[in-house]
Each structure stands twice: as C-alpha cells, then as structure tokens.
Symmetry: D2
Subunit: 393 residues, 4 copies
C-alpha cells in the first residue's frame, strides 16, 4: 500500500483515504467540471430565482458509540421558502414521485389545489413528525391570525449510518432557526441542514444546488434546483458522462471490492426542489418535476427500490392570495411551445446540484465511528482526464 493510494474500510463503508486532503471543499465548477450547455445564474443556486429563501439548521454533536437519544448527532433541517410570505401568498406547484420509499407530506394538497402554500422542510426520516408539528407551531407563533391550511410540506431522507436518527434530535428550535434565518444569496452545501448526515453514491452527500438562466430570446427565465442527495450505489456514479464510480471502484484493493457492491443501504433517497420564475401552470410544473428524474439519471442512478425519490416544483411568477382572494385571478402562463429551454435547464441544474452536494461535502465520522468519505478530488481529476475531460483550473 503506497502513501499515494491507501484504502480504508470503516464500518462497511469503503473510501479512498488518500482523497482526504486539506484542500477546502469547493463546488463542481470550481473543480473544472461542466454540466450541459446552458448558463448558470449568478449564484448557480436556487436562490437565483428571485424571492426564494433557503435556511439551514445543522446539528453536529458527540462522537463514538451510538446511544439512542444521546447521539452522536449528525443531522438537521433545511427550509426552502418559495416566498417570504408563502403562507399568505401561494404559488403554483406540483410534485412527482419517481420512487416511493420516502415521505413528502402535503402532496395531496399540492396535486389537487395546485399550489404551494407552505415552506418546504427537508430533514431526516424519523424527524418528519417533529418538524411537521414545529411547522404548525411556527405558523401559530409568527402568524397567529392565520388559522387555515394546516398542511406543512415535510420531506426526508435517512441518515442513520452517521446519525442517531432514532434519537429525534431535530427540535422545534431547529425548525424555527431554519425558517427564521432563511435568506437569499449564497446557499451552504454539503454537510448542512437536512443534508448533514447524508450519503450519495457511497460518498459523502448532502445539500446541493445549481441554476440555469435562459437567454433573453428564450424568455430570460431562471431555473434553480436544490437537492438533498442521499442516494445511489457507488458503481453507478456518473459525472458529466464519465463512469466515475466504476473507474474509482477499479482502483480499490481486492479485499475491499466486495464492500463496494450495490447495497440497499446505499440506495437512500433524494429530494429535489425546482424553482423558476417562468410563469408555469401547475401542469407544466408537473412536467418539470419529471425532468428532475432525467437530471438524476445523468448522475447514474436507476432509482433503487428503497429510494424515496420525490420532487417538487414551483413557479414564483403568479401569486395566489390565500386571504381576501379575488373571485378570479389574472395569471400569465408560458406557452407550452416555449417550455423546452425550461426542461433542459431542469435536467442540467438537477444533475449539477447532486454533484455539488458531493464536491462540497466533507468526509464525516458519525455514530460508532462510521466514516463516509468525501469524493476525492485528485482521483476524480484523474478519471475525468482519462475520459477526455481534463479539469483545467
């Protein structure tokens, strides 16, 4: 075993220890990776869509053996507010489930009432209940006059490999923190918020985001995506068309190859949220959510059986007041003939969001000393170069 390439087997999770350099974790484009042909927005984030706010509450506490209720804790909650006043001014929205082993509450409303009227909260699987209750409490405390529409949107993926998921560590205060501090501007990625303890393609995953801006001729609209990436078997990972997972697997020492096989535990789930300022109808937004699946497919997934791959999309263009609603609403809708650049943007931004989650996430050690390694930059660069995509930066 050389110093250059050393392998670690930690609690069933195999990674290339040599990948853990002190180099700060950056976004995929900062590494020289590219995705598709369209232009990102200024922040290359879901917050490029004007009005969209993102807030995280990250909970990292303790080390060592798991003691349910005590920790170690590696979890959190992420809030996406389609508008600051989303409780009072709803937006057209839609959802789609690519694979159903997961949860997103509030979708009966979205499908039938065709609007998003609450923030979207993403957390770990066991905390859906407490986050749901906290979302109601937040509304009651911050907006005591509002007494309708008790239907929060809470989605989840499972972080039990690194986190004391049964310990129910996401408290009301964390939900309030994520909502109160939700902001426009740059979005923290990787091991933050709901993504703190998540795993993607058997590397460290978490929160990722990206955006695309259409040309003026195409309408000048922005499409932003945010994912909580916790899915994929390692050998499936594809980046910009390159079979990175397969190539990295080749370099594993023989004794660890067996550990690298597809594994239900690694399948996880992915939540994708798509925002746009293009004036889309709820039906057009439903079509948009199906394109999120196409974007994920570019990262190699076949959407495994135990994955909860659930997507939500909204448009900020038309506002549907929830109070003193006029009897009829004048809305603007994009002609369906103009929707192709939107579809393309969704595919590209979803793909890039997943890889951003991975390139930004840092190696993490959680419960029982379980370690999940970050995607190693140097090895990634070597593989990309072999496939005609040198990361020249």
């Amino acid at each position: 075993m050389t110093a250059l390439v050393r392998f670690a087997i930690v609690a069933g999770c195999v990674a290339i220890a040599g990948a853990q350099s002190s180099r700060p974790r950056v976004r995929a484009r900062d590494l020289g990776l590219t995705f598709g042909s369209m232009t990102p927005g200024p922040l290359n984030a879901i917050t490029d869509v004007a009005g969209v706010l993102v807030g995280h509450a990250t909970i990292v506490r303790g080390e060592g053996a798991l003691k349910v209720g005590d920790g170690p804790v590696r979890t959190g909650v992420t809030a996406v507010l389609p508008r600051k006043d989303i409780w009072f001014n709803a937006l057209f929205g839609a959802t789609h489930t690519l694979n159903g082993d997961g949860e997103m509450t509030g979708t009966h409303w979205v499908r039938d009432l065709e609007t998003i009227a609450h923030p979207i909260l993403v957390t770990n699987t066991a905390s859906v209940g407490s986050v749901h209750e906290a979302a109601m409490a937040y509304m009651n405390e911050r907006h005591p006059g509002r007494d309708w529409g008790f239907l929060p949107i809470v989605a989840e993926t499972w972080d039990g490999r690194l986190n004391d998921v049964r310990g129910l560590h996401v408290k009301r205060s964390h939900v309030f923190e994520a909502l109160d501090h939700a902001a426009a501007g740059r979005v923290a990625e990787g091991n933050v918020g709901g993504g703190t303890g998540m795993i993607a393609y058997a590397f460290k995953g978490g929160i990722g985001t990206a955006s695309r801006r259409l040309s003026a001729e195409e309408g000048g609209y922005t499409v932003g995506v945010l994912v909580q990436a916790n899915f994929g078997s390692r050998d499936s990972l594809v980046i910009d068309g390159v079979p990175v997972g397969r190539e990295l697997a080749k370099e594993l020492l023989p004794e660890v190859k067996a550990e690298g096989q597809p594994n239900a535990d690694h399948e996880g789930s992915v939540i994708a949220i798509v925002a746009t300022d293009a004036p889309l109808s709820s039906r057009q937004l439903e079509r948009v959510t199906r394109r999120a699946a196409l974007g994920l497919a570019r990262t190699g997934t076949y959407s495994g059986n135990t994955s909860g791959d659930i997507f939500l999309a909204f448009s900020t263009a038309n506002v549907i007041p929830q109070q003193n609603t006029p009897k009829t609403l004048n809305v603007t809708l994009l002609s369906t003939d103009e929707i192709n650049p939107i579809f393309r943007a969704v595919v590209e931004a979803t793909e890039e969001s997943v890889i951003n989650a991975m390139t930004r996430a840092e190696t993490m050690t959680g419960i029982n000393g379980n370690t999940v390694h970050a995607l190693p930059y140097d090895r990634l660069a070597a593989v990309m170069a072999r496939y005609g995509r040198p990361l020249h930066r």
Copy 2:
C-alpha cells in the same frame, strides 16, 4: 298476464312491454322528475355553454338476423365541438377514468398539454379506428394548411346487443356529417348518434344532456354535461334517490326475474363530457371530472368491472391559440374558493343527463330481433309516487 302489465323475454333482455305506449318520449323534467337544487340553463343542455356545438350521425338500417357487415345497423357517432375552430384555438381540458375497460384516445395529450385541441367524437367500440382516421381526414380536407397535432379524441361504448358492431358501419361520411352539422341549440337525445344502440341500466339508453346555471353571486357560470349512457345493471338504477330498478324488478313475473340479475353484458360503459364557461385551470377541470363520477353514483352505479367510465371536461373561458401562439398567455382562472357551485352543478347535471338519455330513448329492436325496452313512464311514475315524489304534471 293482464293487459296492463305484460312481460317480454327477448334474447335475454327483459323489459316491461306495457311500458311501450304511444306517448312521445320526453325529457326527465317533462315527466316531473327533479334533480338536485340548482337551476338548469335555458336548454338544459351542454349547448347552454356558449360556443359548444353538438352533431349526430345516426345509422339505423335493416332488421332480422345478424350478418356481420350487412347489419342490422343501430349505431352512429356524436361530435362535441368545444369551439367551432377547436383545431386552431384550444381550451383547457382534463380527463378522468373511473373504470378503464373502455377507450378514449387523445388523453395522453390532454393530461400533459392540458388542453383540448380537437372535437370529441363518441361512437361504438369497433369504430374507434375508422372514426379516428376520419377525424384526421376531416382536418386535412377542411383545414389543409393545418399540419400539426394529429391526435383526435375518440371515445366509445359497446352496442353489440342491438348493432352489427363488427360490421364497422360508421364510415368517414358519418364523421363528416356529425362534424359538419354540429350546432348550438337543442340537442337530440336517446337513440341518436353514438348513443343509437346503447343500453342503460338494462333499459334503452343513449345520448343525454343537462346543464346548470350558477347564480350571479356564484359567478353566473354555466355547466353542461353530455353523456353516452350504456352502463348499469337494472337492479342498481336510482332516480332522484328512489330505487327504481329494485322496485321495477319486484314486479317482474317469477320466470323472468333470473334475467333481470346483474350481468356483465349490462354493465356497459359511459362517456361523460363536461363543458363550462367558468375559467377553470386544467387541474380544476380534472377535479371536475372526478365529480362526474359522483353524479353517476347518484343513478345507482357502482362502476362495474367491464365498464369504460371515462370523463372529459373543458372550459371555454380561456383560449390557447395553436398558431402564432404568443410566448406568454394572459388567462383568467377561477379562485378555488369559488369552485363549489361548479362541483355541485357537475354532479347534478351528470345525474340528470343519464336519466334524460333513458327517458328520451325509445324501445329498440336490433340484431337477431333483440329488443331493449324504454324506461316505462307509467311504472316509473308509480314507483316515484310510492317514494314521496309524485310526478305531477
């Protein structure tokens, strides 16, 4: 057997022969029946929705033994044009399938593109293909410049008990006739168009229509329904809450009771088309189509296994040009808070449409001497009176 009540057993179809009076067949309200609490439009027909046109081609020819290809023929095709120029100016639309043993082509488009861009044609099961081809031919001949969107909407129910359904008697000329003569105003009901050979609740069925007009406070909108009714087992029939089917069955002579039992052949299918000038989104229209199911339920059906219960709804309020379409459309949408009277209207008008089909339909003898009797007015009146609903007219 008295002269008053005589029973006939003809080819497995049992009916009360005494019911065949010379009294002309009228609409349900003309008999004194009522449905719900809302007010019908002036014509109590789908054509109360301004711009909607209906045309029938009715084919009745021959008697006696079935000879496939020769007849006897008891069939036709009914055309509903949401607008005269529907090929060029589409409308928001939606579909719903309550039970899937049936066909309505063109629904992939409706669900995804959220519009109705073609006339709706309703015919017999075996003629779906020829009517589909004729619909394309019509477009090519009447609108030669139009070269997009080859996706006709053709629905069907099965008339093989009375009609030489395998003989494929609905020709291109019939489709042209139904489309060319489609008109506003009164709508022929019963044994006309696609409904010619249809059977409802083991009585003669066919085409029926009804409408409701909302009060000015409710928006003043109109909801119209047209059904091709070919469904239901006799014992299930309910009219205005009265178990008419069960009561009539009690009066059958013992030897014919066995024939009156539920029977897959009698389940048939029902196509319901809902039109409104309320400015509904495609999602709201999808919700509307689910209410058509509730209206059918009021007539007693449990939607049997071999039924093709397929519904389509459209709104005439917003026009989506299919040529020179602007990049964005300004549309008006009804606030969801205002939709309840629409839902109620759909339920009531669907219920009444089915009964209109039955009260207007006349007893018919078709292939192999098979006779299906019309719903008998006198017996109906007697049953309704026993249940507190005297038909005082």
Copy 3:
C-alpha cells in the same frame, strides 16, 4: 317557538334542539334505515374482516372559552391495524384522493411499494406531527429490533369548531393507548377516537363503520369500511336516497336559515378505510378506493373544495413478509371478473358507515360553548316516512 320544535343558534352552528332526546344513540339499522341490497357481516363493522383491529383514544376535557393549550379538548386518535403484526407482515394496499385538502402520510410508499406496512392512524389536523412521531416511538419501543420502514400512515380531519385543535392535545400516550388497545369485535362509533370532535353534514359526525358479506357463490368474502366523517354541507345530506338535509332545512325558522347555507367550514373532510379478505391486487384495491367515492356520493356530497377526502384500502388475503422475505412470493389474486360484488359492497358499506357515524354521535358542546347537534331521530323518521321509507321498528 313551540316546545316541540325549538331552534338554537350557537356559534354559527344551527341545529334542532328538540332533537336532543334522552334516547340512546344507536346505529342506523337499529333505527330501521337500510342501505343497498347486500348483507352486512355479523358486526356490521370493519372488524368483520378477520384480523383487523381497531383502537380509539378519546380525549374530552374542559368546558367554556378556548384557551389554546388548555382546552376545552374534544379530540383523539383512532388506530386501524390491518394485522396485529402489520410492521412485520405487510398487506397489499392502495390509496385514492377524491379531494386533496387534507393529509394522509405514507402514501408515496403505498402507491409504489403497493403495500400497507404500518397501522393507519386517524386524528385531528394539527396532531399529524405528534402522532407521526409517536408512531415511530411505538415501533421503536415495542419492536426495538425493527429498524426499517419509518413511514407511518397518519390521516386527519379538522375539529377546530369543537376542539382546541392548536393545543396539540394528542400525546404519545394516546397513540400508544389506541395501538395497545386495538381489538377485534364491536367498534365504538360517533364521538370517539379521531372522530370525537368531528362534524358531518352540519350535524355531529365522527367514526362510523359497516360491512358487507358476499354470498358463498360470490366467494364469501367480507368487505369492511371505517370512516372518520367530518364533511358535507347540511343541505346536501341524503340518506337512502331521501334528501334529508333539504327537508330538515325547510323546517328551520326563517331567522336561522341563513346559517344553514353551505359553508366552507362545514365541508370538512372524510377519511375512509376499506378492508377486505378478498385476495385483491394493489391495482384492484386502487379500483376499490374509487368506489368509496361512489359510496360517499350516495350520502349527498359533491366533495367540496376544502375537503380532504382520502381513502385507503387493503386486503388481508396475501401476506408480504418484511423480514426474511423470500425472493418470490406465491399469492392468490381474485379474477377481475369476480370483482363486481366487492365494488358493490364497498359502495354500500361506505354509505352506511357515514350514516352510522351520524346516528351514533351525540350532541356535543366544545370550545366557546359551540354546540353541534346530533342528527335528530324523530325528525329523521318523519322525513323518511314522507319519502316512502317508514322506520318501522
């Protein structure tokens, strides 16, 4: 105002005070009402389906003015266990949403994995979160070895007219109580469990149940339904085809008629759970859930805009082990040709369940002295008699 008929206007809820007799509240059939033509099971309850357990935790505490967090409390939670060991042995299942202004968690799994693998918990709107969390805690405490499938099924309707719904009074202990005490046998109805504070057709509603047993020739299967009925505007109420709501409304004094009008608050929601031992596939069960809508339609509803009308069905016939699952399962499925009696049974049992909830529920006074009156037996009898259905018992 006579002694015989006195009207009360309490907090916008109008009812016939004279209806409050001391006569104990009984089931609909005990009043002489009938529904459809099929035969109920021995208990006329969902528990006629062997293995199905039902448990309630009912919370009634305090009187007078609402003080959020203190009460008065009129709420609870109802648990339906498809099997005692449902966490370990799943059953085929399906869901359907007739109108989406409501919540039932866990449905992404049901639709895609096609099984029910958790108890079904029904509570008030604001308690979805705490019940969800409690359901996980229950699994962890009672089945500590089970570490998969964190996807509870929690449904709700809104009881805020009578209950301090924001006070979040459904605690972990109540969920444990409902689950621990779930039992076969007779099912408490009316003001119990999740149904404690619910309102149906502007009368007191709550939990109701009914069943149908198919003839031996039809397979001898049982279909059971349980509803949490909290829906419907008063004027819409229909019982066995009789427009009871409209007729009762006629008798209201002029000054209270305005209060009896359709009202969004009265629309509420309804959760319906259908159980059967017929060996149905998940797709057949989805078809079954659509028939629950037809059963509700018979009680007069048009499924209002603010209603969460969500249905779930399961079959106890085939067991899908969640541990040591064999690679292939041998299952028995009902031929689709045999499904009609099942459909009919679902329609009839759903209709009867709703009316049972109303005939069993007692008049209740809750927060701020708000009173909701029980359906008055004497007036009901008078109306039914006028419509040819004397309640001769």
Copy 4:
C-alpha cells in the same frame, strides 16, 4: 469542401455526407460501443424474453415530390406480441407517459385491468386509426369466436419529414403481415416496420432493441426492450456518456450551424416496450416503465414539449386467462427487494436500444428529396476516442 467531409443541407436537415460509407450498418456493440455493466441476452433483443414475438411490415415506395396519397412512402408498422396467444392469455402490464404529445391507445384498460391482452402495434401518427381498425379485423378473422375486449394497443410517432404521412399508406394487409410474421429470434432494426421513416437526434432513427440477462443469483431473469426512436435534438445526443451530438455539431461548417439548432420538428417521440420474464406485478411494471425514462435520459434527451414519450411494460411470468378464467389465480410475484437488477437492466437496455436504432439505420431520402443521414461511424469513432472510449474492433 473536401471529399472527406462534405456537408449537405436538405430541406432543413443537416448531416455529414461523408458518413455515408458503403460499410454495412451494424449494431452498437459491433462498433465497440458499450452500455452499462450488465450482460445482454443471447440476441441482445426483446425476443430474448421467451415467447415474445416481433413482426415488421415495411413500406418503401416512390421518390421525389410529395403527392399526398401517392407518396413517396417511407413507413410501416411493427407488432410486438407478448405471447402468440395474447388475445386469450393476458399478461400483467403497465404504461407510463413521460411526455404526452403522442398516442398509445388501450392504456385505460392497461392501467385499470392491469393486463396486456392485445399485441402492441407501433406505426406512424396518421395511421393509428387504420391500424386500430385492422387490429380488430385481424382478431375477428383469425379468432372469430372471440367477441370481447375490443381494445387494441396502437402507438405512434411522426414520420412526415420522409413519409407521405397523410397518405395513410399503412393498410390492413400490412397489419396482418406484421402480426402473421411476428417471430422469435433476431429482430430487424433501423429502417423497418413502424421505424422506417423515423429520425433520432436529427440522424436516421427507427426500431432498436436490446436486452439484459440477470445473473443466476439475481434470479436469472431477462429484460428486453424495443424502441421506435424518433426523438431528440442533435446537440443533445449522448452515447455512453460522451456528448456526441455536441462534438459532431462543432465540425459543421459555419453556414449550416444554424440548421443544427434544437428544433421542434426534431423532437419527435419515442415508444418504448419493455418485456421481462421476471414475475412482476402490474405496479412493479409501472415502476419499470419509469426506469425507461432514465434509460432515455442517458442518450441525452430532456423529453421535449412536442414529444410523445410513452412506455409500456409486461411480464410473461404469470398468465391471466381471458376465457374460462378461474375465480382466483395463483400467481408468483417477485419480492420488491429483488427488483433492483431489473431496474438497472431496464435503464441499460433502453439506452442501448436507442443507439442500436441509430447505428443500424441507413441514410434515407424520402418526400421532396428530404434526406436524413445515418449516424456516421467514422466520426462517431473519432469522438468516442477523444473521450477515452476507443472503439477497438
């Protein structure tokens, strides 16, 4: 313009003329291309699934200017028979629509009755009607005793760039030919059957097929896919992760680049049929159809607005007799825990089917001299080599 690379602009369709070598068109693997990591079946075709038959009728006639009704004709029809006796012995099936600007008839049945009970016929857009009628005629002539289930499955894509699509040249005899000659064994690809005049990623497309065989440990099942590929804008084309479309576009002469831009005409549609002998339920098959979308995504598509991307899947493992059906069926179903290799196989085989359609298709000239060029082998090899995938054969 050199002899080596000459560009043609024909009727808005730009291709590399130098690509037209005399080298026979082969399958993608014969060029050295690879797709995924699983092993194809012996034929690498949908017919690797035992019992599945494929038949084509190809109609190529005439040259020069379009004269509607006369030609030139470049079209046909392809039949996939899940079983030779599919009319009498149905199979579990499912469908999914990724984008709805297209037609597949018979899907209401498939979704609700959960079976495929007819051959699947794929043709051009305008011939849906005549093929539908011919499918009924075939059943009547070949199986005169069968008088139920008149619900053929007919899908389409649009070939009007090369074919006189309005001329309606697919006659009854062609449908009979495709059905009568449907066979196991090798499957003709490219310009055959329904795929004759189709275009994929602005190169010549058509029929393609591929398969995967699972290891014995995974169950030893086979998954086969057949596509009629008529979709995609050129710049989107990806092959094994390599942006082939983008790279080839770079080599176009400046004056033709404008022609290579994304274009609604090039979006077309794709029909994908997935067969497997794994014992899947209809719900599992629905999940399978969603994976076909992921396979298409690997070829670069974002599923454009005017595309009819409609998928159908069936399992040959369980037979549902349509005559003398027993009251209950004993069926074997795959545990959902075992489904991942099936999903992966669907993704890989769908991807490869599309590329097979392209590598097998030959350059074609159709109406008005319109030429669509085949994917050029030499240029493809050059691009693949630049991206680390030398085609060493």
